[in-house]
């Protein structure tokens, strides 16, 4: 009888002393599941004991997080066979990373393209676009419009590198950036911060969380931010209320709204001098007071999480919103110096800058998304399965406008000189707009993924997704340059039904080690990107990519420190090797390219005093393998891909000197970088921005646990560096800024 109980008695080699073998029965089972003590594989084990403390640390309080929602459900980062970098709220607060762009500066492998439409978020990861039109997420659901994202309602930012169309549908060649929004919690906690600093900087944020009943809570985040920035001003505000009910019950609901309004004067672009960045001072603004990048984002969202009796979970969410944006930005072209052509040698305060207004742009984007994700753990065929399945639907609609009449395109805004930045010029004209393009699309996706524990240390991941994408594009033409009488509408449409795949092998010999080998594919329907609206570019097949990665995630120091590393190779077919601006003369989807590199992250606590966050990417090899269809607008085969510096990285190290005082120093930088490739049209396709390192520092004093003062200096060395690059011009990074913050929690 009772043979079933025997395995519990199985003496493991680890138990050499008789008294150790006599661990109480209950303890043997439980302790084994907590600590991974040696146990016979056949032992009856109870489910893992949840030591709540680990899940309990808020992103506000630590740089290290071990859980992520980027894989749609909630997963341990170690179970995701891809490189993941997480920027927690603590890092955001420490460094004062006000915008998504600021935050992404602290992720290695990310660069920014300066664009003519003024968005500051044309992001590249591993050299591949993280298009605002597809690869930015909020809570795992697409956040695709162009707007200047602020972090006031962001709990953490998760960057998953490599192809992931299997999870998210179109996009994600370089990876996906997921913004995890702040949500109501069952506790009373309010945070208020006020920051003031040089260049007229004032920012205040309010984060109020109120527990209303045993299961309901309300959270309100709000932000107001102003700065003159020596001309490139900021004027924005935002509010994001959300209400949850049923928290802690099988049915949790959240309803919320979000509003963000920007009325900024964006930094101006400046031309290159002799193939190099113009040697101007950091933060020098050569635009006019009439420049603008105005926008607002308004959306409502809902979330329902249902927990079934069998432990499986269904998350359903929707988001619907309107995004409006209009920009008129200045590009300062290099003119003559004392009557002669400007060179690096004679460049100086007298160098004339001819200011050209980039074509005025305006757009209105409406989108609605619904998605349901179901996750379930089960035993099947003697193996543990983590199933994930889902369905998502999207409806997107965009209207784009261009300037016409006097301020049509490339309007001359008058000259200034290098020695006379922020000259206060105010133009007596401003753009008027007429519709140029319309775009509408419907998308549906279905996916299924399974993570199988095939042996005690081995897991296998497999996933497949089917997408159905229908797009419709219209281009409008007018009687003449000054007319609003529409004479013709050219329309194009396409539909794609691609399949995407993801496969991975995980080897987890202990709770502190996870090694992975993974393969994933992705596709991008380029036609949904800005201005891809004519037959030549709309009717070519979508870009396709694949990504192979070998990596390791290792925990050290009792799990307080995590390191992650990976070697990857990303390849893209039907690549848009030419700049979008040449879309009218070339089939833009015709090239092929690849990049191969190494990524390393380290994050966590080395001792109770020292906390570190580091991210480094090395891409020795990034080449164009095949080029576009028009000789005049294509990149050169064999050329290194633009916006893909060989090395880039970020580091942030903080030291808690005593219970009240903490200091931190960090920075980010990259090796030599250059803009998108192309052989014509752009002014200086070979212009280079040299490698740079920008340092930031912070000191924090806690008067009480709930009242602190913080002093930040960003760009300590006042370094002028190429932050965002375009073939014709570069947008330099911000100059040194000193901020003082008072923060309260109550």
């Amino acid at each position: 009888m009772a043979k079933t109980a025997e395995p519990t008695f199985g003496r493991t080699p680890a138990f050499t002393h008789p008294e150790q073998a006599l661990t109480p029965l209950g303890a043997m089972m439980l302790a084994a599941s907590v600590t991974g003590w040696a146990m016979p594989a056949t032992a009856q084990t109870l489910p893992a004991v949840t030591v709540t403390e680990q899940a309990d640390v808020q992103g506000k309080d630590a740089l290290l997080t071990k859980k992520t929602n980027i894989g749609k459900g909630t997963q341990d980062i170690r179970d995701i066979p891809q490189s993941i970098t997480v920027i927690t709220e603590k890092l955001i607060d420490d460094i004062k990373l006000d915008t998504l762009k600021d935050a992404l500066h602290y992720t290695a492998g990310i660069t920014f393209a300066a664009t003519e439409n003024g968005t500051d978020q044309d992001i590249r990861l591993r050299g591949f676009p993280i298009a605002t039109t597809g690869d930015l997420m909020i809570d795992g659901m697409r956040d695709p419009s162009q707007y200047d994202r602020d972090t006031f309602n962001t709990e953490r930012i998760e960057v998953m590198k490599g192809s992931a169309s299997m999870l998210f549908g179109r996009g994600s060649t370089g990876g996906v950036v997921n913004q995890v929004a702040k949500k109501p919690m069952l506790l009373d906690q309010s945070d208020v911060t006020v920051s003031a600093g040089t260049m007229g900087y004032l920012r205040t944020t309010v984060d109020v969380n109120k527990r209303l009943t045993e299961t309901t809570a309300l959270r309100l985040n709000a932000m107001y931010n102003k700065a003159d920035n020596d001309g490139a001003s900021i004027d924005k505000n935002g509010i994001a209320p959300s209400y949850s009910w049923g928290l802690g019950t099988p049915d949790e609901f959240t309803l919320g709204a979000f509003y963000l309004n920007n009325n900024n004067v964006p930094p101006s672009g400046i031309g290159y001098v002799g193939g190099k960045l113009a040697p101007v001072k950091a933060g020098a603004f050569y635009g006019t007071d009439s420049d603008y990048a105005d926008g607002n984002a308004t959306y409502v969202h809902g979330n329902w999480k249902h927990l079934f009796g069998d432990g499986s979970e269904l998350r359903t969410q929707f988001r619907s919103g309107v995004f409006e944006r209009q920009t008129w930005i200045t590009q300062a072209r290099i003119g003559t110096t004392n009557g002669v052509a400007t060179t690096a040698a004679n460049f100086g305060d007298n160098t004339i800058l001819t200011r050209v207004g980039l074509a005025p742009r305006k757009d209105r984007f409406k989108s609605t998304y619904v998605q349901s994700d179901y996750s379930k753990s089960l035993e099947l065929g003697g193996m543990r399965h983590e199933l994930l399945a889902g369905i998502d639907a999207a409806h997107e609609q965009a209207l784009r406008f261009g300037g016409y009449g006097t301020v049509g395109t490339n309007y001359a805004k008058g000259n200034t000189t290098v020695g006379n930045p922020d000259d206060g010029t105010r133009l007596n004209v401003s753009p008027t707009y007429r519709g140029t393009e319309g775009y509408k699309s419907d998308a549906l996706g279905l996916y299924l993924q399974d993570l199988v524990q095939v042996a005690p240390m081995w897991k296998v991941l497999g996933g497949v997704r089917y997408d159905k994408f229908d797009g419709n594009y219209e281009q409008y033409t007018y009687a003449n340059a000054n007319s609003t009488v529409r004479t013709a509408t050219a329309s194009n449409s396409f539909d794609f039904s691609p399949w995407s795949y993801r496969a991975g092998l995980l080897f987890q010999p202990s709770t502190t080690q996870s090694y992975h080998l993974s393969y994933g594919t992705s596709f991008t329907t380029a036609a949904d990107t800005y201005r891809f609206t004519n037959a030549q570019n709309a009717n070519t097949p979508p870009e396709k990519s694949r990504n192979i990665e070998l990596g390791a995630k290792l925990d050290w120091l009792d799990g307080n420190l995590s390191t992650r590393g990976a070697i990857f190779r990303s390849e893209k077919f039907n690549e848009r090797t030419t700049d979008a601006d040449f879309g009218n003369i070339a089939y833009t989807l015709s090239g092929k390219r690849h990049s191969t590199g190494v990524e390393l992250d380290v994050v966590g606590r080395i001792t109770p005093q020292w906390e570190v966050y580091g991210s480094f990417t090395w891409i020795p090899d990034a080449k164009i393998d095949a080029a576009g269809s028009a000789a005049t607008a294509q990149a050169t085969v064999g050329q290194r891909v633009g916006l893909t510096p060989k090395r880039s990285g970020a580091l942030w190290v903080s030291y808690q000197a005593n219970a009240k005082f903490r200091v931190a120093l960090g920075g980010h930088g990259s090796s030599e970088n250059f803009a998108l490739a192309g052989t014509s049209g752009a002014i200086s396709p070979n212009a280079r921005a040299p490698g740079f390192m920008v340092f930031d520092a912070m000191a924090e004093y806690k008067f009480t646990p709930d009242l602190y003062a913080q002093l930040n200096v960003s760009n300590l060395g006042d370094k002028a560096y190429g932050d965002a690059l375009y073939p014709g011009f570069a947008v330099l990074g911000a100059k040194r800024q000193v901020l003082a913050t008072i923060g309260m929690r109550f």
């Binding site: 009772a2 899940a55 802690g248 009792d558 307080n560 109770p608």
Partner: protein, 229 residues
């Protein structure tokens, strides 16, 4: 069941915890008390989210993880993050109270407080008074343990901390949601486990004895019957 669990932390670890806590930003204890117990509470406590708290929580959780007797007695499903308090000077006592039935974690998770735990971090000779007084069905118990030792007792009991009249009493307290909800059943399992351990170590019987195997099976079957995983 009221149980004294010895040496959850070694003296060395106690010293480490004490060193961290000496520098820590202590606050008024009423921040975590409900409205009723706030009337009774007069101590100081460490904020849940400070560096010192987290460092000491780590120490404690490691101590518990390796402590077999603790696991056997508590059969924990969830352990709430340990908190720390300090009695002495003006803030020196905590009158009669019952712990809230549920602890809300910051991530929204909840822990039903089946078991209350206090881990002493000050040696008994460092302070006068400060006994943990627990009322259960068998009457009132007076608990004052060596540093590093822990007492676990039913969350249902009324308890208080006597005034500290000299020195300082530093302790950690936290709650456990057990996989076996009933205190009585947990106690039976624990007793059975302990007796079985004796039988297994008894050289005349040993682990292969059919009765030992049979009783082990009974232990597991009871667990299966009462378990809430």
């Amino acid at each position: 069941m009221l149980l004294h669990v010895k040496e959850v932390l070694s003296k060395d670890e106690v010293a480490r915890a004490r060193a961290i806590l000496a520098e820590a930003p202590w606050a008024d204890g009423r921040i975590t008390a409900g409205t009723q117990s706030a009337q009774a509470k007069n101590n100081r406590q460490l904020p849940e989210d400070c560096e010192a708290t987290r460092a000491c929580q780590q120490l404690l959780l490691q101590g518990m993880e390796r402590h077999a007797l603790f696991f056997s007695a508590a059969l924990p499903k969830q352990i709430s993050p340990p908190l720390f308090n300090r009695y002495g000077g003006e803030a020196n006592a905590f009158g009669n109270h019952v712990d809230s039935a549920v602890r809300y974690m910051r991530n929204g998770a909840r822990v039903r407080t089946d078991i209350s735990c206090t881990l002493f971090l000050s040696e008994p000779d460092e302070y006068d008074g400060g006994e943990l007084m627990i009322e259960d069905t068998f009457g009132e118990h007076r608990v004052k343990l060596a540093a590093g030792d822990l007492v676990l007792y039913p969350g249902t009991s009324v308890h208080r901390v006597e005034s500290v009249t000299r020195g300082e009493r530093i302790a950690s307290y936290f709650w456990i949601q057990s996989m076996v909800r009933s205190d009585e059943q947990r106690r039976l399992l624990f007793d059975m486990d302990n007796h079985l351990r004796r039988l297994r170590s008894d050289s005349s019987l040993g682990e292969a004895d059919p009765s030992v195997i049979g009783l082990t099976s009974t232990y597991h079957n009871l667990l299966r019957m009462w378990l809430d995983v």
